[in-house]
């Protein structure tokens, strides 16, 4: 234990409360502390007085005698610790009771540290400094953590607002006869997944599902960039492959080496009964029609966006007649590690989708899939899943 004060915390103005029923002792302790550079020192004469003082203005540290009239130091410790607001207050017991039993009782009552009378000024100051520094560092850390949590909660609500509101889903159902249900769950406060829903000039519904590599704050910032880029793009007479080409070209200069996004974008063409899509290395979409026994995978190969500015993409079609269903998901769902330490994989997810594929309600289907996944293992990446049903 050293008496040197850390440069990063200021403990000079710390408030110290000296509690001792003996006036001479009180004066001695106050004098030692003042010589040690602490000017903000208060005193109390017994346990009851001490609790009253703490109630008026909680100190940063208390120097506490044990044997006192009215209320002894053990009881003061217990009462201070019983109050959540004071649970971290450093209590430095100073006592002539020095048997190991006395120390044990003091610590179990809530004392932080113990010095024996007669007081050694150097030792006392060293211990006071150490506890004040610890206290100040702890407070710093708590403030930092609180601020960080507040900021992340705000960022999280901003990220959720990037996603289509329920009203847009309801509109797709009334206007186009396309029902949708989606689930978005970042693995930490923020995530690198993103999905969106818009209509082109021919009133066809366009769906995006994007997954930036990595997760957390960095990946989340990229979803905000992409959202801004998508808002600026012309969606008339929508061509998925051409759209991906353009997104990739815009995203490439923004991303650091090693960062990229997988992305699937497609348009529901009700005139031709097809889902017309292009993919940049996204997980394979699943499609099925009423009467099918098992969903089918659509081809989703393609270079992820952000890797090669000159990349080109391919348009693909899958049949999407009335009653057909489309299931899109991020790799957080298929790369689930099961409890026997194997990865689920897209085939495993297909089997889970198969078990729930005939549930007519989109929400029920999605809940069923997610519940099955949760029963198998825990997610360690962002999970987005979206199901779309063509109702008419």
């Amino acid at each position: 234990m050293t008496g040197t004060s850390s440069a990063s915390v200021n403990i000079r103005n710390s408030r110290i409360l000296v509690v001792d029923d003996n006036r001479v002792n009180r004066h001695l302790l106050v004098a030692v502390l003042q010589r040690g550079g602490f000017s903000n020192v208060g005193t109390a004469e017994d346990g009851v007085d001490a609790l009253a003082r703490i109630g008026e203005a909680p100190p940063d540290l208390m120097l506490l005698d044990l044997m006192m009239p009215k209320m002894d130091g053990f009881e003061v410790c217990r009462q201070v610790r019983a109050n959540p607001a004071w649970k971290d207050l450093p209590i430095l017991v100073q006592s002539s009771l020095s048997s190991s039993d006395d120390r044990k009782h003091a610590f179990s009552a809530g004392a932080t540290d113990f010095v024996t009378k007669p007081i050694n000024a150097t030792e006392l100051l060293s211990r006071v400094r150490i506890h004040l520094e610890n206290q100040a560092l702890l407070r710093d850390l708590q403030q930092y953590r609180n601020r960080r949590q507040t900021e992340l909660a705000l960022a999280r609500s901003m990220q959720e607002r990037l996603l289509p509101p329920p009203s847009r889903l309801a509109q797709a159902r009334t206007d186009l006869g396309l029902s949708l249900s989606a689930h978005f769950e970042p693995s930490s406060e923020l995530g690198g997944d993103f999905w969106d829903l818009r209509r082109d000039d021919r009133d066809r519904l366009i769906v995006w599902l994007v997954d930036f590599s990595g997760h957390g704050v960095g990946a989340a910032l990229n979803t905000f960039r992409l959202h801004a880029i998508l808002r600026q793009m012309d969606l008339s007479n929508f061509d998925p492959a051409e759209h991906l080409r353009e997104v990739n070209e815009r995203v490439c200069p923004l991303l650091r080496n090693g960062q990229f996004a997988t992305m699937l974008v497609g348009v529901v063409d009700q005139a031709t009964d097809t889902f017309h899509y292009a993919s940049a290395g996204a997980p394979a979409p699943m499609i099925w029609q009423p009467g099918d026994d098992v969903p089918e995978f659509g081809d989703s190969s393609g270079l992820p966006v952000g890797i090669l500015a000159s990349a080109r993409y391919e348009n693909r079609d899958v049949p999407l007649p009335v009653g057909a269903r489309l299931f899109l998901y991020s790799d957080g769902a298929s790369e689930l590690w099961t409890s026997d330490d194997t990865v689920l994989g897209e085939e495993g997810l297909l089997e889970i989708a198969r078990q729930h594929m005939h549930l007519p309600d989109d929400n029920h289907f999605l809940d069923g899939v997610l519940d099955s996944l949760a029963a198998l293992g825990s997610f360690n990446d962002d999970v987005t899943a979206l199901v779309l049903t063509r109702r008419r």
Partner: protein, 101 residues
Amino acid sequence: MDYRIEQNGAELKISLSGRLTFNDHGKVRAMIQEMVQSSANRQILVISGLEFVDSSGLGMILVAREEVSQLNKNLTLRGAQGQVKRVLTVAQLGKVIDIED
């Protein structure tokens, strides 16, 4: 993930095993450092022992490719199996990096 490096003249072989994920960030940095400092012009990532790669792992392979090619050296991925092979195929990584069976 674990890796083992052996140099044979102008060829550097880096054999990867286990799972390559976000958690291997530090190890991959060290591996890339060794690749960059090596005098070998032809560098081969032998990934036949790799059982799983996630998108972060894929990103790390792309970083390795970038750093090595900046020194005019050639990087090849060799022997991908199972899930790793599927990921490389779906991402069409053959467009930006040499892939051998």
